[in-house]
Assembly symmetry: C2
Homo-oligomer: 465 residues x 2
């Protein structure tokens, strides 16, 4: 696919490519403010953020200052974490306050949460009372819960209101907020959430109709403390685009929209991938080397400890190795192939757990499946390896030893590859985080022990005649 | 978090838990149809699908037949792939046709695409002409492109129409289609896409206003052949909920909605995770053992070939190992730790490539970063390992050998861990698929070669005195 087809082409906007990028940098360096503003005018905030992310910091600062406050407020949340942090260190209290005022409450909360404690206090003091109290409320929720990702911008009507009244509420909201209008939420006398109605439906209804007669009473909703991963599952399962959030008493306190959930889904999937690879979930391409090292090194040290454990198993058999030195060259095959088979099993298990596919009912089935695959893999790999090794070394017993060891170790791979992620889940440890290191310790130790142990038992048939 | 908090609690619906599940199975087996229908009436189609997924097939068949056609048409696309396939084998042509008629065109296309060729032809013949020609059109697109995931249900108005006229179009669409109304799309005399307008905005506008005066002319759109992964990136980047699709001439041919894209995002993230783990992207917990084995085994054979390669490197040094047998126990530490460090690097690179974070500009930076981390990791792990090994074996030269070998191998890990995913990307091979096996071959070969090579050079200092 050519680059041209993948970039959205809109009738009146520019294509965001390397050419545009270098044009803009030229204009920045020649301080051609008018030309710059004309170009910025034709770009979406997301595209401006994309350009800023890729520029030298000085150029990015210059360009950011050319943006009208309204646009800058939309660009800031779209910047990558590192650049946004640098910008927040650089901008003044007044500038940050003006930007925060332009943002919907969920984005504003994220920005304030990233400020130093003192700066956050000062910015909150500068805001008008309504904004300030909304942000104070949102800041108190854990950022990975429904409360932490929701926004306060909600259109609410009473259940006895008319459709006409609801339309007025939508008009008001459209003037005051800069947010997508998806649904209006209906509350009763006690402010409890009792219904919802898509905004679009209002144009289909007679203006005098009472809302309680036309509202949808099956409102899927969540409490503020529900984990964001659960929130994402609800959006995915019910194909919804906005979800009301209630407090423990059932009062409507905010809403979550699909665009925030798309970010959560991407984030959670990345987290699993990175953890499975033994990397911190905060690491990006752009993370500084020393920061990345500090996060990766502890994980390597854990692996180093398990490597010493496996090594000590080999040491138990040094007499055998000294007698039949080819065992040293063959033993990594048994251990490594066990590790590869285990990685396959772990991957399927961890993904199944993350997607919620694992239930009590199918756990036993998954376990039996992986054990069967382990044995079959063991036979398929063991017979092939045993034949090659036996023929190459002119020693069928050596072939038999490696064949049996592979069958044993691939059985272990299936067994531990299933049990360990499940056990970690039961222990409330993320299976993506620790499964691989635990399971490959098993396959290393059992790989070396079974191969060298069998070789020791059958040593007299292996000695060069 | 207790189970209760995570399940959406709605005023009039039941909680979907194991108790409900066993109640329903009891009712199925006692053939209590009325009671069953009452319960089904209170459940969302997605929850019914969830229950069916977890039942014995005979129970699921019985329950499915209790559903009104309208609900059954919503349940079928939500079933997991295996159960849906079984259902499509079991249902008659007439039943399938009725269900397909209830579905939006994108879901209907997916179902027809899953039928046997003959059955698909027959079902398409049974449909009315409009539905049939829509499905014929949608079926011709590659299923992983914009055309393959779009639907034909679009509200279109001419740019000279009034707001009142547009409202009438929305009314008509609301009657005919069972779909979410997000936006209306505006076309000119030549049917070219020229603008869009959120449906909700119609209630804010005077009825006599012409659409071209109020429409948004910056319509982000894609062509039918754009890959679904690119489509997902556009949704994520611009925070949109629906995206019009045009043909090569710029004519509006359909739209994609956010709920379909959420599925794409989940699918693509799973694909990366599974491929990194050496598993087929189609594998699920529920995949039958023999099917899973057939897909996993070729991958293990590729790894087996590379394991033999690494083993042959060890064989070159058999004299050295025979003289200093402790080398056999230590060499897996060097190779394994290189592999662990490489996995960290690969994970960050593959994720960065998938998220589009890698650009020409930062590739060099990422490369230099990983090489620096590799060297620092090598020193940190090498010095620690060398000290322990040297002290434990009362041989500082042995400690030096393993220290140097680890530095060399972790440098290789950073080098190959960056270069290989990038090279695979340039060669249009998915980096998630092949990076790990190629890079760990490097770290195994260089790990054994550097450690045993250095040991051979310094052999006289290593021999037991």
């Amino acid at each position: 696919m050519s680059e041209q087809e993948t970039i959205p082409i809109t009738p009146q906007t520019l294509e965001v490519d390397d050419e545009l990028m270098s044009d803009i940098v030229d204009l920045i360096r020649s301080q051609s403010d008018n030309a710059l503003r004309n170009i910025l005018n034709d770009l979406f905030p997301e595209d401006i953020a994309h350009l800023l992310n890729r520029m030298e910091f000085e150029d990015a600062q210059y360009l950011f200052l050319q943006l009208p406050t309204e646009i800058a407020g939309k660009v800031l949340p779209e910047l990558n974490d590192d650049l946004r942090e640098q910008f927040l260190d650089w901008l003044s209290k007044k500038q940050i306050t003006e930007l925060v005022e332009e943002m919907p409450s969920d984005d504003a909360t994220d920005i304030v949460a990233e400020l130093s404690r003192d700066m956050a206090e000062e910015v909150l003091d500068e805001l008008d009372e309504k904004d300030s109290s909304e942000l104070h409320e949102l800041l108190q929720y854990d950022e990975s819960t429904a409360g932490g990702i929701m926004q306060k911008e909600v259109i609410t009507v009473k259940k006895n209101d008319t459709v006409k009244r609801a339309i007025q509420a939508v008009r008001r909201a459209a003037r005051e907020q800069n947010e997508q209008l998806y649904a209006i939420y209906v509350i009763d006398e006690k402010d409890l959430l009792v219904g919802s109605l898509p905004v679009a439906n209002l144009i289909l209804l007679p203006p005098s109709r009472r809302i309680y007669k036309v509202m949808d009473t099956d409102v899927i909703h969540v409490r503020t403390n529900v984990d964001q991963e659960e929130v994402a599952k609800i959006f995915k399962k019910y194909n919804i685009i906005s979800l009301p959030v209630t407090d423990f008493g059932g009062h409507l306190v905010g809403r979550i929209t699909i665009d925030d959930v798309v970010d959560v889904i991407t984030e959670e999937a990345s987290e699993d991938i990175l953890r499975l690879g033994g990397v911190s979930e905060d690491e990006h391409i752009s993370t500084a080397p020393l920061v990345a090292l500090r996060r990766r090194l502890p994980w390597l040290y854990v692996n180093l400890a398990t490597a010493f454990l496996a090594s000590s198993v080999v040491n138990l058999f040094s007499n055998t190795i000294q007698s039949v030195v080819v065992l040293a060259a063959l033993m990594p095959i048994v251990a490594g192939m066990g590790g590869n088979a285990a990685t396959q099993t772990i991957t399927v298990m961890v993904r199944g757990i993350a997607l919620g596919e694992i239930t009590d009912a199918n756990t036993r089935k998954a376990f039996l499946k992986e054990i069967r695959i382990g044995l079959m893999n063991g036979v398929a790999n063991g017979v092939l390896t045993g034949t090659v090794v036996g023929a190459f070394n002119h020693n069928p017993v050596l072939g038999l030893v490696i064949c049996l060891a592979m069958i044993i170790n691939m059985f272990i791979a299936g067994f531990a590859g299933t049990i360990v992620p499940l056990a970690l889940k039961w222990m409330k440890i993320d299976p993506a985080l620790a499964s691989a290191v635990v399971v490959t310790t098993f396959t290393d130790v059992f790989g070396f022990a079974s191969f060298l142990g069998l070789a020791t038992l059958l040593l007299k048939y292996l000695l060069p005649s």
